[in-house]
């Protein structure tokens, strides 16, 4: 029995003595950061010229939309920086102005974006609005509960563009970096 015990101790001792390892630093895990950038479309609005012609007065469209995406904890608590890309296309015969306002739960305006576009034919208007860091505050998005879209017709109410399916189209997508760890 003594022989066995000694043999086992010897084996274990030899194993431990012969085994070695480069120095490891497991505290490096604390420095690991996981910050993916996620991208998806957010909203798309199309207003046909026939609608614009029906509305008398400058403002032909104004609507508040509930928009809770930025308030979700998954986003609000983890977002680091990002941007919203807007694409505005005007194929109508009218010069138009578009205003996008970000509203909090009380209906107060937190921020706004203003676009003006000449009558067709005009190039696609693309604007990238950055948030976080030295750019616009992320709190604007975190507190956004509604989006207000307003459109103004600076042209007439009778003409019709010769382009197919004339309309004012607003496209948008969001690209944000969030902290997972």
């Amino acid at each position: 029995m003594l022989l066995l015990r000694n043999a086992v101790f010897l084996c274990i001792a030899v194993t431990f003595l012969l085994s070695c390892s480069d120095k490891q630093d497991f505290s490096q895990y604390d420095d690991l950061t996981i910050t993916p950038t996620l991208e998806t479309s957010i909203f798309y609005i199309k207003t046909q010229e026939s609608i614009i012609n029906r509305v008398t007065g400058l403002s032909f469209f104004s609507q508040d939309f509930n928009f809770d995406a930025f308030e979700e904890d998954l986003f609000a608590e983890r977002v680091l920086e990002g941007s919203i890309t807007y694409e505005l296309e005007n194929t109508t015969s009218k010069e138009i102005e578009i205003t996008i306002e970000f509203l909090d739960a009380n209906g107060d305006v937190l921020d706004s974006e203003f676009f003006r576009m000449e009558a067709a034919p005009t190039a696609l208007l693309t604007r990238v609005v950055a948030y976080g860091g030295i750019n616009k505050s992320l709190d604007i998005l975190r507190n956004t509960s509604q989006i207000r879209l307003s459109a103004v017709n600076l042209g007439d109410n009778t003409s019709t563009s010769s382009l197919p399916d004339p309309a004012v189209v607003l496209r948008s997508s969001a690209k944000f970096m969030v902290r997972v760890k």
């Binding site: 390892s21 490891q24 895990y29 479309s41 026939s50």
Partner: protein, 477 residues
């Protein structure tokens, strides 16, 4: 939610490193009673043996291919973020795995029948078992996100994991048919303590150019996670009765299953032996405490879409909530308590052994002893053996193989040594060593694997051990 957290923690902290083990050194190591556990048809010559409870057989291994602890945590001055990104996120592929196994014998006894050609063995052991494949596309999505990756399909089928904690009760019979052939079988009853598996997943996440909006995001998912046992353990954790619940589920109070091991040893000639075994041909039905989660369906989204002409009379509706509801309807997340069946990870072993040597302390004209089992047809037990061993195991992705060459030397009845070289998906430089010591009736064995990796164990992709303590009697004692 607690259940999901428990499963995740269990997977990550414990079972990610556990899976069915290749016991190539123990296999055909006839001097060790536990060799019956890897081939019930091994040529055994014990009169009886009794494994010391809880320490008669302890074994385990960790296997990680594609990356090592040293690759990530070495104190090398490199930024861990670069190391993780280069060596794991972009360096590993879905075939890479984190796997391992821990097995602890609770009881193991054996005795020879009044018919000296028949040997019975039985007992119980506890086994953790897991394999998790590297979910590459999930990792790339989590680390990099899907931005600026138009038309890139993130494969949701990359998620493949399976794990269990079971108690196995077994009873085996080993019969020496004649001088050349020994066969064996072992029946098993599995008492499942906990189980989780998510192996049949498919689907993708994809951003393409939108038809109306800038981007079209498609989520097509057919994902399922099936679990058993975690509910009772959650409750027990809150009540402080985890031990009682574990014991209860280990003693047939959990999921039940049946299994079978088969094996044989056949002497092609006096010095050449061919052996083979198939282990854990079995299943477990999980029905008592199951919780299954699934996400199935396909949804495309270009965000909130408003066509003013079409929706002129309905512009006040909640477009955001409608979008969320629509996606949840198309891809519902469901929880069910349906029972399910799992099949055990079946293993196949085969070996060809050549015995040889000159007499050493033997009256025979060879380096051998006679079979002491008391059989009517004694066979020679040579003191040198050399041979090869093949191991196969079924995995969620495919079958995996390991091939081993071995040399074995017996020093009288006191000591036997076995050295092996193994090549498998973890290593091509796996040198193993086994030691069996016998002091009168006391038997002790210790086996270690991939010894070259001990030069820098943190850089190893594979490490395993087996050890145990038995009391043995031979037929002529």
């Amino acid at each position: 939610m607690n259940r999901l957290v428990s499963i995740t923690l269990f997977t990550v902290l414990v079972c990610n490193f556990l899976s069915a083990q290749n016991k190539q050194i123990l296999y055909d190591f006839n001097e060790i009673p536990q060799s019956l556990m890897v081939n019930p048809g091994v040529e055994s010559d014990f009169k009886w043996y009794f494994g010391v409870p809880f320490i008669s057989g302890i074994s385990g291994y960790l296997g990680i291919n594609g990356v090592s602890v040293n690759d990530i945590f070495a104190e090398d001055g490199l930024d861990i973020n670069d190391k993780v990104r280069d060596r794991m996120v972009n360096g590993m592929v879905p075939r890479n795995e984190f796997s391992g196994n821990v097995q602890m014998e609770l009881l193991n006894i054996g005795f020879r029948s009044s018919n000296p050609n028949i040997f019975y063995s039985g007992g119980a052991y506890l086994e953790f078992d897991n394999i998790t494949y590297w979910p590459r596309d999930y990792a790339q999505l989590i680390f990099d996100g899907n931005a600026d990756q138009l038309d890139r399909k993130f494969d949701l089928g990359d998620l493949k994991t399976r794990g269990s904690l079971v108690t196995v009760y077994h009873l085996g019979i080993n019969k020496k048919v004649d001088k050349n052939l020994t066969i064996g079988a072992r029946g098993k009853i599995y008492s499942g303590i906990m189980d989780y598996n998510s192996t049949r997943n498919s689907g993708y996440l994809l951003n393409t150019e939108g038809q109306n909006n800038i981007l079209n995001t498609t989520l097509s998912a057919d994902l399922e996670l099936r679990t058993s046992g975690f509910g009772q353990l959650d409750d027990a954790s809150e009540n402080g009765t985890v031990s009682n619940t574990l014991v209860k589920r280990a003693l047939f109070g959990g999921d039940l299953g049946l299994g079978l091991d088969l094996g044989f040893s056949y002497r092609v000639n006096e010095q050449t032996v061919f052996t083979a075994s198939v282990l854990d041909l079995g299943f477990i039905y999980h029905g008592g405490d199951t919780q299954n989660y699934s996400l199935a369906g396909t949804a495309n989204s270009e965000g909130i879409q408003i066509n003013v002409l079409r929706e002129l009379s309905n512009l006040n509706r909640d477009y955001w909530q409608d979008l969320v509801d629509e996606i949840e309807e198309l891809i519902p997340f469901q929880e069910t308590n349906n029972g399910y069946l799992t099949f055990r990870p079946t293993k196949v072993n085969a070996s060809l052994r050549y015995d040889f040597g000159k007499p050493l302390g033997s009256s025979e004209d060879c380096d051998c002893t006679t079979d002491p089992s008391g059989s009517n047809e004694p066979r020679m037990a040579y003191r040198n053996s050399v041979g090869g061993h093949l191991f196969l195991i079924n995995r969620p992705r495919d079958s995996q193989a390991a091939i081993t060459g071995f040399y074995m030397r017996r020093f009288g009845n006191i000591m036997a040594l076995k050295a092996t070289y193994t090549a498998d998906k973890f290593s091509f430089t796996n040198i193993g060593f086994g030691l069996n010591l016998q002091a009168d009736p006391v038997n002790l064995y210790a086996i270690a694997d991939n010894l070259l990796s001990y030069r820098n164990i943190a850089a190893s992709n594979y490490a395993s051990f087996q050890l145990g303590l038995n009391i043995i009697s031979w037929g002529n004692k």
